[in-house]
């Protein structure tokens, strides 16, 4: 009797998982790459062709004729999606060429990010994050994709640790011998001074 009860308990989670698909998975868009599937079925007729990422993505809306009122932002990190298709007014990103403001109707751009503060403006509220680095893609249909490696809200940063890190990396730079060490120390200095200015400024 105990065995049957434990079997039931074991079976139930599997059934539940089968019935409920992944909640964060996007519905499969039917557009698969036709040339690939054709070429595959010609060469390897016995196997089903593998799926490609295109079939797991929702297609983006085309460029509208008039400038939309809101910017749609996707802010993703490797371990979380901070903002997913959120409609905001403006986003300011720390590009390598300086702080860049993105409004709806911005020209299509690919920009690399440097360590700095990213702020999202929605109505009257503003959320600030410190991003380590990454890329931002601005598409013509007022969609902005920000991909960062690490991003933290500013209140999670500790001033003392930042100062300590800055001092540590400055001393490392002065004592560095090889180019690699110099580059690493320089990167550390860049990040920490950006953190410093983010916290003070």
């Amino acid at each position: 009797m105990l065995r049957r009860a434990s079997m039931l308990l074991a079976c139930r989670p599997i059934l539940a998982a089968r019935a409920r698909p992944f909640s964060t998975d996007l519905p499969a868009a039917p557009s698969a790459d036709a040339t690939f599937t054709e070429a595959w079925t010609k060469v390897i007729p016995n196997m089903d062709p593998p799926k490609t990422p295109l079939s797991f993505m929702q297609p983006r809306p085309p460029t509208p004729s008039s400038i939309p009122s809101k910017l749609t932002v996707n802010f993703v990190l490797p371990y979380a999606s901070e903002l997913a298709t959120k409609e905001v007014d403006m986003v300011i990103v720390p590009a390598t060429t300086g702080q860049m403001g993105i409004l709806p109707g911005h020209v299509a751009t690919i920009a690399e990010l440097k360590p700095g503060v990213l702020s999202v403006h929605e109505g009257s509220e503003m959320t600030k994050y410190f991003v380590s680095s990454g890329f931002v893609f601005i598409h013509a249909n007022s969609f902005a994709d920000i991909i960062a490696v690490e991003a933290v809200p500013l209140d999670r940063l500790d001033v003392n640790l930042v100062q300590k890190g800055l001092a540590e990396f400055t001393s490392k730079l002065s004592s560095a011998t090889t180019d690699l060490e110099k580059a690493e120390a320089q990167i550390g200095i860049d990040v920490h001074s950006a953190l410093n200015s983010a916290l003070t400024g």
Binding site: R18, T24, W40, P50, S81, M100, I110, I147
Partner: protein
């Protein structure tokens, strides 16, 4: 094995007639009982062999059930990570599109597999797909190389494609998967392997019972330039302004490397999820099989036991009636 055990115990093997027709249909290795002549001419039917088998099958059932629980808990841990990392590759596909049918000279197939076994057929599927892509992209002046992650794919691919393997990486899951680890890995691969197109083969996790083999393509910056100039799917790439950096090529290079590490991260997580899910279902079916086998063995055991009791009774009664009459 049963014969050796019998010989060791010095018993003569004589098959019983009654249970044999039933069990012979099932599986031949079951040797239910054996008779032997005792010293006074009394016949015993020993259930020792069946009992030993039952004990070992029960142990197997316990082990596979435990493995299933372990896989379920590991799955829960990796599943959240994989779910969260799904947003990572979408911006790249939205920008650069997905061109698995691109025609390039140097292809690199990155096959992601598991280190441990007992996880069903997912590793064989990945290897078959990798070999299929190799075949698809074979032609004059074209070459395809393999980069293998995981022991299982290494074992399968080393047999016939040894000369095409560039890099083998194992023990990926020794420490919990993190983006830093995967980006270092991606860096290694990009440094050591020349590529025009990288095709990452992995099993995408849909649910505990469904894993879809998927191939993601990452193109090198030169090929991206070539495709965008020739129009077609990447034609709009030219319309994108490129901020910062000295040249567009530099930014595209960084972009390609970043894309590769992001796609790899997601692929490795999804494959880990698929591995745990496949192991769960493999162990589940294994424990169910063991349970079925145990039921059949129990029936045989009881039948043998009852037959021996009946034989004893018959002998006693016939002996008694011989004395009387």
């Amino acid at each position: 094995m049963a014969m050796a055990a019998l010989r060791r115990e010095g018993r003569r093997f004589a098959p019983l007639i009654s249970p044999r027709p039933i069990t012979a249909v099932r599986s031949s290795p079951i040797v239910p009982t054996h008779e032997y002549e005792g010293p006074i001419g009394v016949r015993y039917i020993s259930t020792q062999v069946v009992r030993n088998r039952m004990k070992s099958v029960k142990n197997i059932q316990k082990i596979t059930k435990a493995m299933k629980m372990v896989a379920a808990s590991k799955l829960r841990a990796v599943q959240t990570k994989a779910e969260n990392s799904r947003g990572l590759w979408q911006p790249f596909t939205a920008l650069l599109g997905d061109l698995p049918s691109v025609d390039v000279k140097k292809n690199v197939v990155v096959t992601i597999s598991s280190d441990k076994g007992l996880c069903g057929g997912i590793n064989s599927t990945s290897v078959k797909i990798s070999k299929g892509i190799y075949k698809l992209n074979s032609g004059p002046e074209k070459e395809t190389k393999y980069v293998i992650l995981g022991e299982k794919a290494k074992a399968q691919l080393i047999r016939d494609s040894k000369k095409d393997i560039e890099l083998i990486i194992t023990e990926l899951q020794k420490n919990p998967l993190s983006y830093t680890q995967v980006s270092v890995l991606a860096d290694e691969i990009l440094k050591n392997v020349e590529y025009d197109a990288l095709r990452i083969v992995f099993n995408k996790f849909h649910s505990v019972v469904s894993f879809v083999p998927t191939v993601s393509t990452v193109l090198s910056p030169e090929i991206v330039e070539r495709e965008s100039e020739s129009g077609g799917k990447l034609g709009e790439l030219d319309s994108y302004e490129v901020e910062g950096g000295e040249t567009k090529g530099e930014i595209l290079q960084n972009l390609a490397e970043f894309q590769f590490s992001c796609v790899m991260f997601n692929a490795v997580l999804e494959n880990a999820c698929s591995e745990q899910g496949a192991r769960m279902s493999a162990m589940d079916s294994s424990s169910r099989n063991a349970g079925d086998m145990l039921d059949r063995l129990t029936l045989t055991y009881n039948r043998t036991r009852q037959a021996s009791i009946t034989t004893e009774l018959i002998e006693i009664i016939s002996g008694a009636s011989a004395l009387e009459g």
